[in-house]
Symmetry: C2
Subunit: 430 residues, 2 copies
Amino acid sequence: MASALHIGIAGLGNVGAGVVKILAQNADLVARRAGRPIVVTAVSARDRNRDRGISLDGIAWVDDAAELATRDDVDVVVELIGGSDGPALTLARRTLGAAKPLVTANKAMLAHHGLELAQMAEAADLPLKYEAAVAGGIPVIKGISEGSAANRITRVYGLMNGTCNYILSRMEAEGLGFAEVLADAQALGFAEADPSFDIDGIDTAHKLSILAALAFGAALDFAGVACTGIRAIESADIAQAAALGFRIKLVGLAEAEDGRLFQRVHPALVPMAHPVATTMGSLNALVVEGDFVGRLFFQGRGAGEGPTASAVVADLVDIARGDVRPPFVMPVADLAALPRADAAGRRGRYYLRLNVADRAGVLAELTAALRDCGVSIESLVQRGTSSSGDAMVVMVTHEAREADVVDSLARMAASPSVVGQPVMMHILDF
Amino acid sequence: MASALHIGIAGLGNVGAGVVKILAQNADLVARRAGRPIVVTAVSARDRNRDRGISLDGIAWVDDAAELATRDDVDVVVELIGGSDGPALTLARRTLGAAKPLVTANKAMLAHHGLELAQMAEAADLPLKYEAAVAGGIPVIKGISEGSAANRITRVYGLMNGTCNYILSRMEAEGLGFAEVLADAQALGFAEADPSFDIDGIDTAHKLSILAALAFGAALDFAGVACTGIRAIESADIAQAAALGFRIKLVGLAEAEDGRLFQRVHPALVPMAHPVATTMGSLNALVVEGDFVGRLFFQGRGAGEGPTASAVVADLVDIARGDVRPPFVMPVADLAALPRADAAGRRGRYYLRLNVADRAGVLAELTAALRDCGVSIESLVQRGTSSSGDAMVVMVTHEAREADVVDSLARMAASPSVVGQPVMMHILDF
């Protein structure tokens, strides 16, 4: 068997500890699959004394993570520090600059600096691998960039944030409100103390922008992702959606059409029989649509020590096998800087929910606004709410132009009969 | 861009024509992903004049497929002839013997001769790739051998035969009998004139034996697959299973435990909420369970021109990229010749269906047989059937030893009250 591949790991949180654990526990198996042993020789983390449930015997401790890039006993650097800039980015640049392969789980860094890093990697013919950055243990980076390589990919979408899926699943199962479930998820460690990256959709947007670049051969455009999170969703929305045959999910969706790139993160109504709708709890799910393969569906654990570390080690096995490809499938210079698609012209069905004062003429006012914008209604439910004197009106439109639905909603929101902010969600009809 | 990779294709059925189509239609995209153009230079098939909806202009026609192996204008051979032996095997051996990479979709050949061919490939450091051999367009070979490389895989199972899934789905949707749906599927071209490879589970067994070798690092053991097809399933079974919350699927299942290999193809009752149960029509589905990644689920189109050709071209892209790995992840010499696990000791719940004469004492007789074998009953339904004077008894056991259930069934079958052959199916409780 060939000589060992020596790994330096920066960041020993759950994932870093998981990588150390896999490479110890499954050492023999991994070595046989990789064609050579993969051995951790150096690590760096903030707190040397924390108990991580792993043995660091025989592994060098490095205080400054950036040093891993230049150590003679490190062949490959695994960056698990996190954060789009700061020490993670410094380490990534130094690693590639020192002509060493880089493995990272850092979607924020890739979303912001992925093209720069990919160019460094390409210039030196080095692997830069990041299976763990999207959907944890699901091999979706490989599934798109290699498994679907024959196809003109037209659409990629799915659930890439376990925290949001967990919150929405519990809101449905227990009939609880968003704030209540979020607080409990934080107490249980399923949501961060500052949850905004997750629940506002930013984490999903990071991942989506990476997938879109891979799938469409497009220059990564994180700033082009339109992003709406799940804060505005009420348990009544979940119940109404269910009554209509849908489940609400935070969907990241990217499409390439007519040479334009559409990227959006938004809560959407997914038909109950769709595999994305049946993906519950903290599971992730991804759909890839290609012109020859049709619809491919991937589901699995998108976060956590084991699954994410599993993806990191898969990358290491590829590197041990000598697999070097451009990080975004084709050289960065070949990626097309696609203009952003205009959402206004999109057509689809929409879910609208408005809380209204329960008085005569309100419905006439709402339906007139829709009519004036050319939006026709497929179904409408009005319900009195017990808690206040208000009523809730839920509508599903027939297929309509998105701009027209937005217009009609603005008109309705301006009415003194409408209480608070109306909610508009897309219906996933594919 | 590097020089073109020249492909020779043997077999121009649906899949072969699909490969030609992809490499023409998506030529530019594939070239950018592969780092070089992939060009078909020679083909061989039985009938030169058949209209396949593709242009063969500029492509050499070769009468004897085996000649592709030695032509100077062919760098890689794609074998799509089919059949475990005969011209496919001759071509495969000659291709590797001539030091050329081989891509095949031929699960029968791999199930019977995979280890021999893998050894030839390894000895010459050549790629032998076969993503298209299992589950068509779903990148499950890659998902197991590369994506899950960090994991001790404990179980692989799923639906690998679209014909069976199509038949069972239509039996359920339309309440029709097996024979009727099969005849219609044949008329529509969804089932072969001789359907036994599909409906008796042999095709699934071929694929399962390949996956088991990959997943467990085990020597491929096709003869070790216990195989029961779907001929005995009646529409009443499907209805009863549904009433109990299950859907009947032809499941291929492989497990490695205590150094033994368990491989079985059998109709099983899958809980309705399980993603395998919601995989309908001709779709395929695969589950991989690993010690770190947990459960991975893959779903997509398992057959047909587009999806299968998509998998072939993905293999060609890997070859163009210079990716060479042992065909079964590790060298054949390292694969363990695992002894076969004994099914008798397995524990699980079982579905039993017996057609019985509708007379006094029958149920007492059946339940006594179960009691005497130590099998306890979770639920039991007896129904009169309108067509004859007989009744149907359906039982679900509590968890029991498989050997005990088999014993009890043999005792029941021996009773003069039991009409025809009883049916026993496993319940998938994971």
